[in-house]
Symmetry: C2
Subunit: 168 residues, 2 copies
Amino acid sequence: MKLSEAKQQFISSWGAFGTHWGINRTMAQIHALLLVSASPLSQDNIMEELNISRGNANMNIRELINWGLVERVLLPGERKEFFVAEKDIWKVVRQIIKERKKRELEPMLRLLDQLEDVEGDRKDKEVKTFVETVGGIKKFGHQADRTLDLMVRAEENWFLSALGKFFK
Amino acid sequence: MKLSEAKQQFISSWGAFGTHWGINRTMAQIHALLLVSASPLSQDNIMEELNISRGNANMNIRELINWGLVERVLLPGERKEFFVAEKDIWKVVRQIIKERKKRELEPMLRLLDQLEDVEGDRKDKEVKTFVETVGGIKKFGHQADRTLDLMVRAEENWFLSALGKFFK
DNA sequence: TTAATTTTTCAATAAATTTTGAAAATTCAA
DNA sequence: TTGAATTTTCAAAATTTATTGAAAAATTAA
């Protein structure tokens, strides 16, 4: 397989993959393109490679920067901005965990904490089921939150390899 | 907070949560509703509670069954079908991991395996970056695949609590 | 300064996804 | 069998989300 074809395939399936994770196709494709580029790309490069408009490129590049997955670089003698993606996949995953934890898990846990003190007789079957189910989710969520914290803080890939040994 | 209000809130935020994970709002809401219901609900119950159409309810209930998160139950003396959700959150999470692994991770790994044998000089910077980045993702992916396998096979919540102790 | 280049914004448009509801198919009691 | 109850399907409509492109804003070299 030729490099250009392989790149195409990678970009396209990374884009499809993203849509299963609440990330829009274009954002995932830009990320994929930068992941496999040896050198920084400008917004125009990206527009051309992916056949997308200026506004679309700009918006999604910015979003990738907000997520901490891409950064701007200034090339000497160039007026344009260029962009590169972090290529160490473990760092990428850590960054995504960090952001999603903050954006999704933590707000959900705050809500669950509130829902705990629902009025009513604990002997009522409906009340009991609600309290127990929500309580279980809350407990699981807090435990996951702590575990993810450790993952995010881990400096190296030691987490997964430690796990591997742990389970053997 | 009243039970009905708490239920409403839980359903609504579980729905919003789902949309960040590539799951449609209604499917997540039906799941939430069943999670906090003490007794099985019929399709009509669900339609009424969530104010959705028959077709919509039917389609999303079926999808939840495909995901292994909900099951049909037949109530004695009733002609209609009723539905219940697995309430043990650890089992729910394991089931989701199992399905997403099969539907998303495994196909991606098969593609990455193919992309590995790209033609071209390994000294070419573009080729090198591609091979290394994709290789890194592949390695990470396979490792994650094995770890998730262990999680799915784990019978009880011992996984997270073991982790907790492991990291202390 | 000025003016060319580049980035950002955002209303309009397009595309994708979800929802509806009525009709068809299926199930099941009698 | 029949027919009422229930489930399923699916084309059309509604809604949501993504994309465009042109205009405005910002940046920078001279």
